[in-house]
Symmetry: C2
Subunit: 110 residues, 2 copies
DNA sequence: GTATGATATGTCAGATGCGACATACGTGCC
DNA sequence: GGCACGTATGTCGCATCTGACATATCATAC
Protein backbone atom coordinates (compact mmCIF):
# COMPACT_ATOMS: atom_id res chain seq x y z
CA UNK A 1 0.00 0.00 0.00
CA UNK A 2 1.52 3.35 -1.01
CA UNK A 3 1.71 6.24 1.39
CA UNK A 4 -0.81 8.27 -0.53
CA UNK A 5 -3.48 5.62 -0.14
CA UNK A 6 -2.61 5.03 3.46
CA UNK A 7 -2.99 8.69 4.22
CA UNK A 8 -6.37 8.91 2.55
CA UNK A 9 -7.65 5.86 4.35
CA UNK A 10 -6.48 7.16 7.66
CA UNK A 11 -8.27 10.38 6.97
CA UNK A 12 -11.39 8.32 6.43
CA UNK A 13 -10.92 6.77 9.83
CA UNK A 14 -9.39 3.41 8.93
CA UNK A 15 -7.03 1.65 11.26
CA UNK A 16 -4.43 1.24 8.57
CA UNK A 17 -1.67 0.47 10.98
CA UNK A 18 -3.48 -2.75 11.80
CA UNK A 19 -3.04 -4.27 8.40
CA UNK A 20 -5.14 -7.40 8.76
CA UNK A 21 -8.40 -5.55 9.00
CA UNK A 22 -8.17 -3.77 5.70
CA UNK A 23 -6.73 -6.63 3.74
CA UNK A 24 -9.31 -8.94 5.20
CA UNK A 25 -12.49 -7.17 4.21
CA UNK A 26 -12.95 -9.05 0.97
CA UNK A 27 -11.54 -12.27 2.37
CA UNK A 28 -13.91 -12.09 5.30
CA UNK A 29 -16.87 -12.26 2.98
CA UNK A 30 -15.34 -15.16 1.06
CA UNK A 31 -14.73 -17.05 4.29
CA UNK A 32 -18.28 -16.34 5.35
CA UNK A 33 -19.66 -17.83 2.15
CA UNK A 34 -17.42 -20.86 2.49
CA UNK A 35 -18.79 -21.39 5.98
CA UNK A 36 -22.31 -21.17 4.67
CA UNK A 37 -21.58 -23.73 1.98
CA UNK A 38 -20.06 -26.10 4.50
CA UNK A 39 -23.08 -25.80 6.79
CA UNK A 40 -25.44 -26.34 3.87
CA UNK A 41 -23.60 -29.48 2.87
CA UNK A 42 -23.76 -30.75 6.40
CA UNK A 43 -27.49 -30.19 6.53
CA UNK A 44 -28.02 -32.22 3.37
CA UNK A 45 -25.69 -34.96 4.57
CA UNK A 46 -27.61 -35.21 7.83
CA UNK A 47 -30.91 -35.44 6.01
CA UNK A 48 -29.72 -38.11 3.60
CA UNK A 49 -28.14 -40.14 6.35
CA UNK A 50 -31.54 -40.40 7.96
CA UNK A 51 -33.38 -41.04 4.72
CA UNK A 52 -35.62 -38.04 5.08
CA UNK A 53 -36.93 -35.91 2.25
CA UNK A 54 -36.95 -32.13 2.34
CA UNK A 55 -40.61 -31.99 3.29
CA UNK A 56 -39.98 -34.08 6.40
CA UNK A 57 -37.05 -31.92 7.39
CA UNK A 58 -39.22 -28.86 6.86
CA UNK A 59 -41.70 -30.20 9.41
CA UNK A 60 -38.98 -30.93 11.92
CA UNK A 61 -37.36 -27.52 11.68
CA UNK A 62 -40.64 -25.65 11.26
CA UNK A 63 -40.23 -24.44 7.73
CA UNK A 64 -41.21 -25.36 4.18
CA UNK A 65 -39.80 -27.69 1.56
CA UNK A 66 -38.77 -24.82 -0.65
CA UNK A 67 -36.80 -23.17 2.10
CA UNK A 68 -35.05 -26.42 2.95
CA UNK A 69 -34.05 -26.71 -0.69
CA UNK A 70 -32.66 -23.18 -0.52
CA UNK A 71 -30.81 -23.96 2.69
CA UNK A 72 -29.12 -26.94 1.10
CA UNK A 73 -28.24 -24.82 -1.91
CA UNK A 74 -26.77 -22.15 0.39
CA UNK A 75 -29.04 -19.69 -1.40
CA UNK A 76 -28.25 -16.05 -0.79
CA UNK A 77 -31.63 -15.62 0.85
CA UNK A 78 -30.66 -18.01 3.64
CA UNK A 79 -28.86 -16.85 6.74
CA UNK A 80 -26.31 -18.79 8.73
CA UNK A 81 -28.68 -18.32 11.63
CA UNK A 82 -31.28 -20.42 9.90
CA UNK A 83 -28.78 -23.08 8.88
CA UNK A 84 -27.47 -23.45 12.41
CA UNK A 85 -30.92 -23.47 13.98
CA UNK A 86 -31.95 -26.18 11.55
CA UNK A 87 -28.89 -28.29 12.21
CA UNK A 88 -29.51 -28.07 15.94
CA UNK A 89 -33.14 -29.04 15.50
CA UNK A 90 -32.00 -32.04 13.52
CA UNK A 91 -30.08 -33.09 16.59
CA UNK A 92 -26.62 -31.76 15.81
CA UNK A 93 -24.55 -30.84 18.85
CA UNK A 94 -22.62 -27.63 19.15
CA UNK A 95 -19.43 -29.53 18.41
CA UNK A 96 -20.98 -30.84 15.19
CA UNK A 97 -21.78 -27.32 14.08
CA UNK A 98 -18.26 -26.24 14.93
CA UNK A 99 -16.86 -29.03 12.82
CA UNK A 100 -18.97 -27.96 9.86
CA UNK A 101 -17.97 -24.34 10.36
CA UNK A 102 -14.31 -25.12 9.94
CA UNK A 103 -14.79 -27.77 7.27
CA UNK A 104 -13.74 -27.16 3.71
CA UNK A 105 -16.80 -27.21 1.48
CA UNK A 106 -16.78 -29.65 -1.39
CA UNK A 107 -18.51 -27.26 -3.74
CA UNK A 108 -16.62 -26.42 -6.89
CA UNK A 109 -15.06 -23.01 -6.97
CA UNK A 110 -17.20 -20.44 -8.76
CA UNK B 1 -44.39 -40.57 25.96
CA UNK B 2 -47.64 -42.55 26.07
CA UNK B 3 -49.05 -44.26 23.04
CA UNK B 4 -51.97 -41.89 22.82
CA UNK B 5 -49.71 -38.87 22.49
CA UNK B 6 -47.43 -40.60 20.07
CA UNK B 7 -50.33 -41.48 17.83
CA UNK B 8 -51.62 -37.94 17.79
CA UNK B 9 -48.23 -36.50 16.99
CA UNK B 10 -47.73 -38.94 14.18
CA UNK B 11 -51.08 -37.95 12.79
CA UNK B 12 -49.80 -34.40 12.81
CA UNK B 13 -46.86 -35.49 10.77
CA UNK B 14 -44.17 -35.75 13.40
CA UNK B 15 -41.36 -38.24 13.11
CA UNK B 16 -41.95 -39.52 16.59
CA UNK B 17 -39.91 -42.63 16.05
CA UNK B 18 -36.89 -40.40 15.79
CA UNK B 19 -37.00 -39.23 19.35
CA UNK B 20 -34.22 -36.66 19.26
CA UNK B 21 -36.08 -34.23 17.05
CA UNK B 22 -39.08 -33.81 19.26
CA UNK B 23 -37.23 -33.76 22.54
CA UNK B 24 -34.64 -31.41 21.13
CA UNK B 25 -36.82 -28.52 20.02
CA UNK B 26 -36.38 -26.58 23.25
CA UNK B 27 -32.80 -27.68 23.70
CA UNK B 28 -31.95 -26.55 20.21
CA UNK B 29 -32.87 -23.00 21.09
CA UNK B 30 -30.87 -23.18 24.31
CA UNK B 31 -27.82 -24.42 22.42
CA UNK B 32 -28.29 -21.68 19.89
CA UNK B 33 -28.27 -19.03 22.60
CA UNK B 34 -25.21 -20.57 24.20
CA UNK B 35 -23.44 -20.37 20.86
CA UNK B 36 -24.39 -16.75 20.51
CA UNK B 37 -23.05 -15.99 23.98
CA UNK B 38 -19.79 -17.75 23.23
CA UNK B 39 -19.34 -15.81 19.99
CA UNK B 40 -20.18 -12.56 21.73
CA UNK B 41 -17.58 -13.23 24.40
CA UNK B 42 -15.01 -14.01 21.77
CA UNK B 43 -15.73 -10.74 20.00
CA UNK B 44 -15.18 -8.77 23.19
CA UNK B 45 -12.04 -10.73 24.02
CA UNK B 46 -10.63 -9.99 20.58
CA UNK B 47 -11.40 -6.31 20.94
CA UNK B 48 -9.83 -6.02 24.37
CA UNK B 49 -6.77 -7.95 23.34
CA UNK B 50 -6.13 -5.30 20.73
CA UNK B 51 -6.97 -2.42 23.04
CA UNK B 52 -9.72 -1.09 20.82
CA UNK B 53 -12.89 0.59 21.98
CA UNK B 54 -16.31 -0.25 20.58
CA UNK B 55 -16.29 2.76 18.27
CA UNK B 56 -13.08 1.59 16.60
CA UNK B 57 -14.44 -1.90 16.15
CA UNK B 58 -17.59 -0.38 14.69
CA UNK B 59 -15.51 1.34 12.02
CA UNK B 60 -13.65 -1.85 11.19
CA UNK B 61 -16.74 -3.99 10.84
CA UNK B 62 -18.84 -1.26 9.27
CA UNK B 63 -21.33 -0.68 12.01
CA UNK B 64 -21.99 1.58 14.95
CA UNK B 65 -20.84 1.66 18.58
CA UNK B 66 -24.28 0.84 19.83
CA UNK B 67 -24.54 -2.25 17.69
CA UNK B 68 -21.12 -3.43 18.78
CA UNK B 69 -22.29 -3.06 22.39
CA UNK B 70 -25.33 -5.15 21.55
CA UNK B 71 -23.19 -7.74 19.82
CA UNK B 72 -21.01 -8.12 22.87
CA UNK B 73 -24.11 -8.37 25.04
CA UNK B 74 -25.52 -11.06 22.72
CA UNK B 75 -28.61 -8.90 22.50
CA UNK B 76 -31.64 -10.60 21.00
CA UNK B 77 -31.58 -8.14 18.12
CA UNK B 78 -28.23 -9.38 16.85
CA UNK B 79 -27.89 -12.41 14.64
CA UNK B 80 -25.16 -15.00 14.64
CA UNK B 81 -24.58 -13.92 11.07
CA UNK B 82 -23.53 -10.49 12.26
CA UNK B 83 -21.34 -11.88 15.03
CA UNK B 84 -19.51 -14.19 12.66
CA UNK B 85 -19.09 -11.54 9.98
CA UNK B 86 -17.66 -9.20 12.58
CA UNK B 87 -15.26 -11.78 13.95
CA UNK B 88 -14.01 -12.51 10.44
CA UNK B 89 -13.53 -8.82 9.73
CA UNK B 90 -11.52 -8.57 12.91
CA UNK B 91 -9.19 -11.14 11.42
CA UNK B 92 -10.50 -14.34 12.94
CA UNK B 93 -10.02 -17.45 10.84
CA UNK B 94 -12.73 -19.99 10.24
CA UNK B 95 -11.08 -22.29 12.76
CA UNK B 96 -11.23 -19.51 15.36
CA UNK B 97 -14.95 -19.13 14.79
CA UNK B 98 -15.40 -22.87 15.07
CA UNK B 99 -13.58 -22.86 18.37
CA UNK B 100 -15.86 -20.16 19.70
CA UNK B 101 -18.92 -21.98 18.44
CA UNK B 102 -18.16 -25.03 20.49
CA UNK B 103 -16.80 -23.15 23.48
CA UNK B 104 -18.70 -23.04 26.72
CA UNK B 105 -19.77 -19.51 27.43
CA UNK B 106 -18.66 -18.02 30.71
CA UNK B 107 -21.90 -16.16 31.21
CA UNK B 108 -23.73 -16.95 34.41
CA UNK B 109 -26.75 -19.15 33.98
CA UNK B 110 -30.02 -17.23 33.85
C1' DG C 1 -47.10 -41.26 -22.74
C1' DT C 2 -48.49 -39.96 -17.90
C1' DA C 3 -48.68 -40.38 -13.07
C1' DT C 4 -46.08 -39.99 -8.78
C1' DG C 5 -42.62 -38.46 -5.77
C1' DA C 6 -38.67 -35.50 -4.83
C1' DT C 7 -36.23 -31.35 -5.52
C1' DA C 8 -35.59 -26.64 -7.49
C1' DT C 9 -36.98 -21.86 -8.54
C1' DG C 10 -39.74 -17.54 -8.27
C1' DT C 11 -42.52 -14.52 -5.73
C1' DC C 12 -44.64 -12.07 -1.88
C1' DA C 13 -46.43 -10.25 2.58
C1' DG C 14 -45.09 -10.16 7.15
C1' DA C 15 -41.29 -10.70 10.49
C1' DT C 16 -36.77 -9.83 11.97
C1' DG C 17 -32.30 -7.52 11.78
C1' DC C 18 -29.62 -3.53 10.64
C1' DG C 19 -26.99 1.05 11.06
C1' DA C 20 -27.71 5.28 12.97
C1' DC C 21 -28.90 8.51 16.30
C1' DA C 22 -30.06 10.20 20.89
C1' DT C 23 -29.41 9.65 25.40
C1' DA C 24 -28.41 7.39 29.83
C1' DC C 25 -25.01 5.34 32.82
C1' DG C 26 -20.52 4.75 34.76
C1' DT C 27 -15.72 6.12 36.03
C1' DG C 28 -11.79 8.81 36.50
C1' DC C 29 -9.64 13.39 36.50
C1' DC C 30 -9.46 18.18 37.48
C1' DG D 1 -19.24 20.32 41.00
C1' DG D 2 -18.14 19.67 35.61
C1' DC D 3 -15.78 17.41 31.74
C1' DA D 4 -14.14 13.63 28.88
C1' DC D 5 -14.28 8.96 27.57
C1' DG D 6 -16.23 4.52 27.09
C1' DT D 7 -20.20 1.63 27.30
C1' DA D 8 -25.24 0.55 27.52
C1' DT D 9 -30.10 1.16 26.18
C1' DG D 10 -34.08 2.71 23.48
C1' DT D 11 -36.02 3.88 19.20
C1' DC D 12 -36.71 4.29 14.17
C1' DG D 13 -36.77 3.86 9.05
C1' DC D 14 -35.02 0.85 5.80
C1' DA D 15 -33.12 -3.62 4.35
C1' DT D 16 -32.91 -8.38 4.51
C1' DC D 17 -34.81 -12.91 5.82
C1' DT D 18 -38.57 -16.14 6.31
C1' DG D 19 -42.50 -19.37 5.63
C1' DA D 20 -45.77 -20.24 2.40
C1' DC D 21 -47.49 -20.96 -1.98
C1' DA D 22 -47.31 -21.83 -6.92
C1' DT D 23 -44.95 -23.78 -10.36
C1' DA D 24 -41.08 -25.93 -12.82
C1' DT D 25 -37.76 -29.61 -13.42
C1' DC D 26 -36.27 -34.18 -13.10
C1' DA D 27 -36.35 -38.84 -12.24
C1' DT D 28 -38.56 -43.60 -11.94
C1' DA D 29 -42.29 -46.75 -12.68
C1' DC D 30 -46.08 -48.27 -15.14
Amino acid sequence: MDKQTKKRLEADGWQVGDAQDFLGLADAEAEFIEMKLALAEDLRARRLKRHLNQTQVARIVGSSQSRVAKMEAADSSVSIDLLIRSLLKLGAARADVAKAVSAQSHARAS
